[in-house]
């Protein structure tokens, strides 16, 4: 069996820039405040939870590649660099890095802006915007910020795709294609995405940001967390409902104990949550539902679930953590992480959050 460890974590969310602020907000449990977005030509306002401005301008924004990059790239870069900072400080020699980017909506800001310009007059549509509209742009920019990147993929799907990305990274590590692999999920907000979400889950507040895990083979780089399992991807179909898939995913993860954490993907919509709520009806351990605090972050939300689960393990809040993702239109999939001995203190203990049951 190949062993895969978590070497670092990164997050940007409506709670702020960094894992600490995201975890703290989720542990406090109070939903963050909504901001309002205008839909052109429509009187009503749309709800969203935006990422606050960083306390100081991140140094990476000085990189020439990021001059015109959109917010999704800023979030992805911040999360990826934060996740990479710990293993980078521990590495004894250069490490080959892999990057897996996971997106659902992707680069909606520049896509809408460029398409709007095109409709007005294609002759004046900005050629600088178009390259930033492609799904592959955030991964390309993050790769440019890192050194020694051997391979980069961008995966698109519903939030369960983030765990597919983790599985892909584990495969690259097992093949020894890379020494470490950064897997990030990122999204940005704009009116069109908030409008689309309104049609699909009227109770949800769209959220922006990113989350990242840096995975490694070397136990010496581990922050005390091991990837134990990723279930099958239980894909929805004409014959398999979300509820069927959620149950199948649940069956592949162990039953609960009081020292274990479930970091689930439930938001505020009762109907949307019903399959996941039913699948985990037997759970008696600790439980966190990050979306209820941070908002519907789509792929970033799935990444936040993993970051929060791993941070709780690294902080000794639980012995094991399950992550449950019952995605919106593709699959139900879960992951399990374990707390393992660590070679050195993982993080400043003052930044650890207390997990509530």
């Amino acid at each position: 069996m190949s062993h895969v460890y978590v070497a670092g974590l990164g997050a940007v969310s409506p709670a702020g820039w960094g894992v600490a602020s995201t975890c703290k907000a989720v542990c406090l449990g109070s939903p963050l405040a909504d901001q309002q977005l205008e839909r052109p030509g429509w009187g009503k306002l749309l709800r969203a939870r935006l990422v606050p401005n960083p306390p100081q301008r991140p140094a990476f924004l000085a990189h020439p590649r990021l001059r015109r990059a959109s917010p999704i790239t800023h979030y992805a870069a911040a999360a990826a660099l934060e996740a990479w900072s710990r293993p980078r400080s521990l590495q004894s020699g250069p490490l080959q890095i892999g990057v897996v980017a996971c997106l659902q909506a992707g680069c909606v800001n520049y896509s809408c802006r460029f398409f709007g310009e095109t409709l007005k007059d294609p002759q004046t549509a900005s050629p600088l915007l178009f390259p930033e509209t492609v799904y592959a742009a955030p991964a390309s920019h993050v790769t440019a910020l890192l050194e020694n990147v051997a391979v980069t993929y961008t995966l698109v799907g519903d939030p369960g795709c983030y765990l597919e990305g983790i599985a892909l990274a584990a495969q690259w590590l097992a093949e020894k294609l890379v020494d470490v692999c950064i897997v990030f999920g990122a999204e940005e907000t704009n009116w069109i995405l908030a409008d689309a979400l309104r049609h699909l889950d009227g109770t949800a507040s769209l959220a922006a940001g990113a989350g990242a895990l840096c995975l490694c083979r070397d136990p010496g780089l581990s922050m005390g967390v091991e990837l134990a399992a990723i279930t099958d991807a239980h894909t929805y179909s004409a014959e398999r409902t979300r509820a069927d898939s959620a149950r199948a995913m649940r069956r592949q993860l162990p039953s609960s104990s009081s020292s274990e954490l479930l970091c689930d993907g439930r938001g505020t919509g009762v109907q949307v949550n019903a399959p996941e709520t039913a699948a985990w009806g037997d759970w008696r351990g600790m439980r966190l539902s990050p979306k209820r605090v941070l908002g519907e972050g789509l792929m970033a939300g799935a990444a936040w679930q993993c970051v929060i689960a791993c941070e709780a393990l690294a902080g000794g809040q639980a012995d094991a953590a399950n992550v449950s993702i019952v995605g919106s239109n593709q699959q139900a999939i879960g992951a399990r992480f374990l707390r393992t001995p660590v070679a050195e203190p993982a993080m400043d203990p003052s930044q650890k959050c207390e997990v509530r049951t």
Partner: protein, 413 residues
């Protein structure tokens, strides 16, 4: 479980292609396309899908889609939700599936490459949201069905299989990456059957983007020509069915060819420009051939990425010339983008099928539009229809963002 990975097989498995489906501006299906690629036909015409009256360039390689979709398990109201991209994907997948003679089943991964998925549906969503105050008829459906994973699900439902759906969006390398990833899954014993390919339809946003970048040729797309002036866009889809060679032999399947090598790497030079010496392209060609355990002199045909832009073609010409070395003057190369345009996320998959056609039918895909070679081309461009012994073919795909990918295919038997 996706992790831990199943125990690796003792020896990597050989991977057979037992089904191939293709849709391009040359037509729908293997036979029509093979005829067109062999003859060097071009499928360009004035764009009719959206208004290009104010664009610099107004031509592209549009697909003539049949009015009826093939008969599948997809219910009519679901089939009606497929947009142009989804319909092309279904046509290609159905052809490949039928050719493979596979039965429906579970645990069959679907690995797709695309850059835009259902972008046209997203464009409609945008226009309606801006123009209709508060009315939302059809918007929820559009919000779901423009997403590529949903299009993938529709294809799986149509053909009666279920399993992991992976959508890779590594820009113009997506199709090659999807096939390469599928190859790895079979080779490492992680699945017994995989459906893989790429698809992309023309959309106003993407067409306007390349037009705004002035990357589109205002004349004729002439990859590797010294006087080339840009690329031409097209649309299409290609899908392959992959399985272990031994399984295919045991069940008496028609084996169309083998995939024997794949590599992918990232060129960090620039978001949209390759390294001028083609360093990463060179690296992936070398790695793919090392994996295939063959040398450049064993490659009988290269289907180049060959977009027709100044920067891509000079970098790729450098890379191919450096990689082939002394073999370069005898190495036939062509870019089929001269005939069907750049299919973006579908390009790598369609071009893999073109290589398969060359291997199976023993001819070289010709590139009609070509006059004088770029000085960096130390290799000949296939300029006329030509039968040839083709035992190994190599296909390059390079994308915006820097992902480079190479596939190596072998004739069977």
């Amino acid at each position: 479980m996706l992790f831990p990975l199943p125990s690796s097989v003792a020896e990597p498995l050989r991977v057979a292609i037992t089904g191939a489906g293709i849709v391009s501006s040359l037509g729908v299906g293997w036979k029509t396309n093979a005829h067109g690629f062999r003859a060097g036909r071009a499928g360009f015409r004035p764009v009719s899908l959206f208004d290009v009256s104010r664009h610099r360039v107004r031509r592209a390689a549009e697909v003539d889609l049949p009015l009826e979709l093939p008969s599948t398990r997809l219910k009519p109201h679901h089939a009606g939700r497929l947009d142009r991209a989804g319909r092309m994907l279904l046509l290609a997948a159905e052809e490949a599936w039928r050719q493979a003679g596979w039965e429906p089943g579970n645990d069959i991964p679907l690995i797709l490459g695309t850059t835009a998925g259902g972008m046209a549906m997203g464009e409609t969503y945008f226009c309606r949201a801006q123009s209709i105050r508060g009315r939302s008829s059809g918007q929820a459906t559009r919000a779901v069905h423009y997403q590529p994973q949903v299009q993938g699900r529709m294809v799986a439902d149509a053909l009666g299989f279920n399993g992991l759906i992976s959508v890779l969006s590594n820009a113009c390398a997506s199709g090659s990456n999807a096939i390469g990833q599928a190859w790895k899954v079979i080779r490492q014993g992680q699945a017994k059957r995989v459906v893989a390919g790429g698809y992309d339809a023309l959309s106003q946003l993407v067409f306007s983007g390349f037009d705004a970048l002035q990357a589109l040729s205002p004349t004729i797309c002439r990859p590797f020509d010294a006087h080339r002036d840009g690329l031409a866009l097209g649309e299409g889809a290609a899908v392959l069915t992959l399985e272990p060679l031994e399984d295919a032999r045991r069940r008496g399947a028609v084996i169309l060819g083998e995939i024997i090598g794949y590599s992918s790497a990232i060129d960090q030079h620039h978001l949209t420009q390759p390294h001028p010496q083609g360093d990463t392209a060179l690296a992936v060609m070398r790695q793919a051939c090392e994996m295939a355990r063959i040398t450049p002199d064993q490659i009988d045909y290269v289907n180049a990425h060959g977009t027709g832009t100044m920067l891509n073609d000079s970098a790729e010409a450098m890379a191919i010339s450096r990689w082939a070395g002394a073999h370069a003057p005898a190495l036939p190369v062509s870019s089929t983008k001269a005939g069907i345009g750049h299919l973006l996320g579908a390009a790598g998959a369609v071009e893999a099928v073109v290589c398969l056609m060359a291997l199976r039918e023993q001819w070289l895909p010709m590139q009609a539009a070509f006059e004088s070679p770029d000085p960096a081309c130390l290799f000949p461009i296939v300029r006329a229809p030509r039968d040839a012994r083709v035992a190994h073919a190599l296909s390059n795909s390079f994308g915006f963002g820097g992902v480079n990918a190479t596939l190596v295919l072998r004739r069977w038997p």
